[in-house]
């Protein structure tokens, strides 16, 4: 495999919870804890997990919109965290983000055209050219520049706004696109259209995607490889196929069991997990999933489980698979 386009090693972001008059730190929300992964050029890495597991924080950390406390982040071999402000500005053209909320992600006071052109203006493109490229980009994402370009965000539907968001991210010609729940706020039929658009754009522009979603069906459809996150940690990684066919971590299994499937062979009898994930402020010791895990053992509380390879590119962090693998099915 060639050099990864994006490489993360031990990324960590804990948010301080402040309180009192002196704003002293009372506790830490461990949003992203020791997350490592690689994304090869042209690949789509899916990141899946429940709400509150740190997916969106991870997306922002990758783009350095949130500064991580620890860990290494390399884009095309370059250390992103060490980049100077001017270098960072240049890097931002190469890595862009598509946001989840199609309503909050567009400035209500800018026309669609101006919202897209703004990114180009920031990088010194002349106004006229920026506007032309914005209009061309609008056309590419399936909107009519003549009809929609001079409109304001509130005049568009959710699906149209998400297309605008995609256009805004792509107008800078990035190489990496981080998509943070890009279709979660959309109707099913619109979801399919936007997903297909994303697939087309990826092939056409040789893009690399980091695709974040809580929806396993979506993740399975778009991803080459998948990262399963639970409470700020990665618990299992593997190809989309391997994960779908034989999920190893009890959490991944529960996720697949709770995802509605149209395929009768894929329906599982096992009960999906119940309840909400524990608080990320004070996560359980050892394996963080143990409080909801059907197979929890005493040792799960002692130390975080190590990574165990269970396939060629399939790894899981669970004691069930250490030394002598125990069959769960």
């Amino acid at each position: 495999m060639s050099r990864p386009l994006l490489e993360a090693r031990g990324l960590r972001k804990h948010f301080p919870l402040r309180g009192g008059v002196l704003q002293r730190t009372r506790a830490w929300v461990r949003a992203v804890d020791d997350v490592s992964f690689e994304v090869a050029p042209g690949e789509t890495l899916g990141i899946v997990g429940e709400s509150g597991c740190g997916k969106s924080t991870l997306a922002r950390v990758i783009l350095r919109l949130i500064e991580p406390e620890a860990g290494e982040l390399r884009f095309d071999g370059e250390d992103v965290r060490a980049a100077s402000p001017s270098r960072m500005k240049r890097l931002r053209r190469d890595m862009q983000l598509v946001f989840q909320d199609p309503y909050a992600s567009l400035n209500p006071r800018l026309t669609i055209e101006d919202a897209i052109a703004f990114s180009l203006l920031v990088h010194g493109t002349p106004r006229r050219e920026a506007r032309e490229r914005a209009r061309a980009m609008l056309g590419r994402v399936g909107l009519d520049p003549g009809l929609h370009g001079r409109r304001y965000a509130h005049e568009l539907s959710g699906g149209q706004r998400q297309r605008v968001n995609i256009a805004r991210a792509l107008v800078l010609d990035p190489r990496l696109l981080v998509l943070d729940e890009p279709v979660s706020a959309l109707d099913k039929s619109v979801q399919a259209q936007v997903l297909n658009l994303l697939q087309d754009l990826k092939t056409e522009r040789a893009l690399t995607y980091v695709f974040i979603s809580h929806d396993l069906n979506v993740i399975e459809y778009v991803s080459d490889r998948v990262l399963v996150m639970y409470l700020g940690e990665v618990v299992e990684t593997g190809t989309a196929e391997a994960l779908a066919q034989s999920p190893k971590h009890p959490y991944t299994q529960a996720l697949f069991a709770s995802a509605p499937s149209m395929d009768p062979d894929r329906r599982m009898d096992r009960l999906p997990i119940a309840g909400d994930p524990p608080n990320a402020i004070d996560p359980p010791s050892g394996c963080r999933f143990r409080t909801r895990c059907a197979f929890a053992m005493p040792r799960c509380a002692e130390a975080p489980p190590p990574w165990v390879p269970v396939g060629a590119t399939h790894d899981v962090a669970c004691y069930l698979y250490q030394a002598e693998p125990v069959s769960v099915a």
């Binding site: 919109l65 006071r109 800018l110 990114s119 920031v122 009809l147 304001y152």
Partner: protein, 295 residues
């Protein structure tokens, strides 16, 4: 046939998107109460500006023989005050003072308050704590009490009135500006702008201010009526404009002993204050409704 006509027409209507401010203007133009209030204010402002030409008499020239003439007295349409000065002339001149004393502090507060509030909200952290807690100190006192205390310490006079009222209104505007900024700052389009590589200045100018100034402006407009009442109140207490200058609050004070002799003439400055501050209130209400952003 009617259906097909509607289908043809719909895109034509929708094809004329309105910019935000044009939408606001269009909404205002359909709001009758606000239009009337605005019209009243224009008349008051015009009469204040044109007072030197409109006033039939010198506002400070009195006549002992003509004290407390009734409304409608020959030569004095609105009567005369306790020193025989023409009420119409004094009300016209007094409007100048009252409007200056009412509007200036709000304008000062708008500029200073928006600056401080946006800075506190956008920078956050210690800057925010420093600015906001300092504002809280001023905010702890009721507006009237604070205005009286500062004016009392500085002494009477128009300049001191303006200073004390500005101090009253700055913290209020800062609060609104800060909370609006914090709210907008957390929205994804700000993060998107950061992700595109934009610097703080470009983000504040193109993305933040445009979305924050509206609510701040609306709030400031609600404070004008209060400012007018406070300015008149300070004059009434002898802490504002000094005699013999004409000012509505001061006129109310000097005329108050005459209320048993002539009940209507002493009420006139009060009526003027009431109408002006009411009109400002109605206008700011209308402005708020018109500026409400659609989702």
């Amino acid at each position: 046939m009617a259906v097909s006509v509607a289908l043809v027409e719909a895109p034509a209507v929708a094809a004329a998107p309105m910019s935000y401010w044009r939408t606001v203007a269009w909404r205002l133009s359909r709001d009758r109460a606000t239009l009337v209030a605005g019209g009243v204010l224009v008349l008051i402002a015009l009469s204040a500006v044109l007072a030197p030409w409109l006033a039939p008499y010198d506002p400070s020239a009195g006549s002992i023989r003509l004290r407390l003439a009734e409304v409608g007295a020959p030569g004095h349409v609105l009567g005369t005050d306790e020193q025989g000065r023409d009420m119409l002339s004094r009300l016209l001149w007094g409007g100048r003072m009252t409007l200056v004393a009412g509007l200036t502090p709000v304008l000062v507060a708008l500029v200073l308050g928006a600056g401080l509030g946006v800075a506190a909200g956008y920078v956050g952290g210690i800057t925010n704590t420093l600015i906001m807690r300092t504002m809280d100190i001023f905010y702890a006192f009721p507006a009237v009490l604070l205005a009286i205390a500062i004016s009392g310490a500085l002494g009477p006079g128009l300049a001191n009135t303006l200073i004390s009222l500005s101090i009253v209104f700055v913290p209020r505007v800062v609060r609104v500006a800060e909370s609006a900024t914090v709210q907008v700052k957390g929205l994804e389009y700000i993060a998107a702008a950061r992700a595109s590589g934009a610097g703080v200045r470009a983000i504040v100018r193109h993305h933040l201010l445009a979305n924050v100034l509206g609510p701040i402006l609306v709030f400031a407009s609600t404070q004008v009526s209060l400012s007018i009442i406070l300015a008149a109140g300070l004059s009434f207490l002898g802490l504002g404009v000094t005699p013999p200058a004409a000012e509505w609050g001061l006129m109310l004070n000097t005329l108050r002993q005459s209320i048993y002799v002539n009940a209507i003439v002493p009420a006139l400055p009060g009526l003027a204050i009431f109408i002006t501050s009411m009109a400002f209130n109605l206008l700011s209400d209308g402005l708020r409704d018109a500026m409400e952003i659609r989702g």
